[in-house]
């Protein structure tokens, strides 16, 4: 019996040790890379990019479902960014509110004769419109089909070689596009996808689609998420992109090469984690064909998004994320440990499987093991405290590391003023992590219910 127990403890120890070690390495790598990237961008360079005659057109593809309140501001703000060539393609996903009417009135839409570029699966298109005035906007009106579906439709009507996938309620800053396009300028032969840093819009003053003032969220739940997002975007993704193991380009901001997306089949309309699904599929598609490619992350390009402020919406979001994760991983399990998929098959996918998908289960097992150990007397209070401290420290170290790498923790310039509050939040974050873990566990244990999209639409865990 005791042998079994110790074997279990050994396995768990290895599991957690790997997690700690990898996290530690990621923080260091991310720190070095962020410094280097920042030191590579010279002030004149950004201005030159914004002035470039031959800058590639970016088609911003926005799926819109009942976004009447924000869609116009979002479009106008995107069209007024300092990037030479921007086009906005909005896919009205069968909205039941006044989204289409609002667009029609605001922009004077007329039927357009633009034809779709390629074949991507989506619900039937009811009509395609463009404004009478020379505004680079296309509105694709279609039957409802979900985010992935709407994105496919938008992409097929996009003109530019690059498509930017984002949501209607997100906000970018003036230089975001110019910063995000740099990997494509530096390596146009291989770069196929680029992600940016998502920050929290909660607590920012946003008016008419533009950030007036960044600020930290007032409520505790978004504050925890701010910390979570920082860890993911400023540490994990940067580190993984350095070793070409970036498993996901977030659907919250994904700058993709249109032809590769279309060739890889576009988004999977049945997928809940469609951005994760597409990224893995792009990896698989390109590696299968031995095409050299790069998927990267630009830490200084910022995009702000709203996160759930109450636990009900958070619950729904995390359930959906975990369902999506499960779905994508089982679909792409063929990539596991196949040499041809290189680091994706040997590191990224297994990591997602073990440390994202199964994490809640293993943590529960570990907790039970510890409790058993206490009950039986093998584990004393000191050891328990030590374990608890290490567990806590392992989240705090990367988070603090993430803060150090930026002038604006949580994407906010005033983040520093609220350092005390954020540090306090970090200490209590364990509670939050247990909460999200409970949500994820529930997803795995409780039989499936229909998962609705609801208000917040970010589809995959930020930890990846």
């Amino acid at each position: 019996m005791t042998e079994l127990y110790y074997t279990l403890v050994a396995i768990l120890a290895v599991y957690f040790f790997i997690y700690v070690a990898v996290t530690f390495v990621m923080v260091i790598v991310a720190g070095l890379v962020t410094r280097r990237r920042r030191h590579e961008l010279l002030p004149s360079t950004l201005r030159e990019i914004m002035r470039a005659e031959l800058a590639p057109t970016i088609s911003v593809c926005i799926p819109a479902y009942n976004e009447a309140a924000v869609v116009v501001d979002s479009i106008r703000s995107l069209l007024s960014l300092d990037y030479p060539r921007v086009e906005v393609v909005v896919a009205n996903d069968g909205s039941t509110d006044t989204t289409l009417d609002v667009l029609r009135t605001e922009f004077g839409l007329e039927p357009s004769n633009r034809s779709p570029l390629g074949e991507l699966p989506h619900q039937p298109v009811r009509g395609v419109y463009e404004p009478r005035a020379p505004i680079s906007l296309v509105v694709v009106d279609k039957d409802n089909g979900g985010r992935a579906d709407a994105l496919n439709a938008a992409i097929t009507y996009a003109n530019g070689p690059l498509v930017l996938v984002m949501d209607a309620d997100e906000v970018v800053s003036n230089d975001t596009l110019a910063l995000a396009v740099r990997p494509f300028l530096a390596d146009p032969f291989r770069t196929v996808a680029v992600g940016a840093t998502l920050g929290l819009a909660n607590g920012c003053r946003i008016v008419r689609g533009r950030i007036i003032e960044t600020g930290r969220p007032r409520q505790i739940l978004p504050l925890f998420q701010a910390v979570e997002y920082d860890r993911s975007f400023r540490v994990a993704r940067i580190a993984s992109s350095t070793v070409h193991a970036m498993a996901i380009v977030s659907g919250g901001f994904g700058l993709l090469r249109r032809d590769v997306v279309i060739e890889a089949g576009g988004y999977d309309v049945d997928s809940i984690g469609e951005d994760f699904d597409l990224t893995l599929r792009m990896h698989r598609f390109l590696r299968d064909r031995d095409v050299p490619y790069r998927i990267g992350q630009v830490p200084d390009a910022l995009c702000w998004t709203l996160v759930p402020e109450n636990s009900r919406v958070l619950h729904r979001q995390r359930r959906r994320w975990h369902r999506g994760l499960w779905q994508v991983l089982s679909k792409e399990r063929g990539m596991l440990f196949r040499p041809r998929y290189g680091i994706i098959g040997f590191a990224a996918v297994p990591w997602a499987f073990l440390y994202e998908l199964l994490n809640p289960v293993i943590v529960v097992v570990a907790t039970l093991t510890i409790i058993l150990g206490i009950v039986v007397g093998i584990i004393g209070w000191q050891l328990l405290l030590l374990i608890a401290f290490i567990a806590w420290a392992c989240t705090v170290v990367p988070t603090l590391g993430a803060f150090l790498m930026t002038d604006s923790p949580g994407g906010t310039k005033t983040g520093w003023r609220n350092l005390g509050a954020v540090l306090a939040a970090m200490s209590a974050e364990m509670g939050y992590q247990w909460l999200t873990m409970a949500y994820r566990l529930e997803t795995m244990l409780v039989p499936r219910r229909r998962v609705a999209w609801g208000d917040m639409e970010r589809s995959v865990p930020p930890e990846l």
Partner: protein
């Protein structure tokens, strides 16, 4: 395990200390220092308008503040008022300061920024330092110096500048692009040479695109090569480059793309629109 806990605790402590220092610095940068910079901007603006002078600043902080202020002003100005600002930069010792950084700083980042600042200031005093910077150990510094010399219009080191562009464009792509654009205007033959015999595909492509941007027809063969690429990013940029060059060859190639049913639909659409503007 205890060891792990101690290491982690130490790390957290170190990070917290670093965080507090960082916070204080950001506060300074965005707060008090920004106020000083704003004041310096006012002083420089008044001097430029009134054809006046500015006192050379005393102390490291004030010199830094003046530097930051001047570099916010340069991109906004053009023509004779900009030249006056350059004279002010020279008379206050600012150019000298930046040159010193380029020549002496052990940090590559500082030298890169210095080269960039000299490029922006466009003072002839900086030419020797920029020329020397072409031999810097850091590739980004080298390319930034090429850009500086190109923007100054100083082409005495043209040969070496081209060598740097050929070898280092990959490391400093955007800087190389703007340097080549300046050279395309000032010394197009040199760029044609780079475009034809450059050692990296990236440099050759950039050279071709720079030439195309200024309408030089000699770029056409390379650009047509880009047009044939499957990669829609390359071919799409090529269509725009062809449009900039214009002329009969441009029209012919665009018509060819338009008629070719196997090409990407949006590329053909783009070609159609380009044709409207070129014809």
């Amino acid at each position: 395990m205890t060891l792990a806990a101690i290491i982690l605790a130490g790390l957290i402590l170190a990070e917290l200390v670093a965080l507090v220092c960082r916070r204080n610095w950001v506060h300074w940068k965005l707060g008090r220092r920004q106020t000083l910079v704003d004041d310096a901007i006012s002083a420089l603006a008044d001097a430029v308008v009134a054809h006046g002078d500015v006192e050379p600043p005393q102390g490291r902080v004030n010199r830094r503040v003046l530097r930051l202020a001047a570099l916010e002003l340069f991109p906004v100005l053009a023509g004779s008022s900009r030249e006056r600002l350059t004279r002010l930069a020279e008379s206050t010792g600012l150019v000298h300061d930046v040159i010193r950084t380029l020549q002496r700083s052990p940090r590559a980042y500082a030298r890169r920024t210095a080269a960039d600042e000299l490029a922006e200031i466009r003072s002839a005093e900086a030419a020797p330092a920029l020329a020397a910077g072409l031999e810097d150990v850091d590739p980004v510094v080298r390319v930034a110096c090429v850009r500086g010399l190109a923007w100054l219009g100083d082409l005495t080191e043209l040969r070496r500048m081209l060598q740097v562009l050929d070898g280092d464009s990959l490391r400093a792509p955007s800087e190389a692009e703007s340097a080549m654009l300046a050279l395309a205007r000032a010394a197009p033959e040199s760029l044609v040479e780079l475009e034809q015999s450059g050692s990296s595909r990236f440099a050759r492509r950039l050279a071709a695109l720079a030439l195309a941007t200024v309408g030089d027809k000699r770029a056409m063969p390379s650009v047509l090569g880009e047009l044939a690429e499957e990669n829609v990013l390359l071919s799409s940029v090529a269509v725009r480059a062809i449009e900039r060059v214009g002329g009969e060859d441009a029209v012919a190639s665009l018509e060819h793309v338009l008629a070719d049913g196997s090409r990407d639909v949006s590329l053909r659409r783009q070609a159609a629109r380009a044709l409207e503007r070129v014809r």
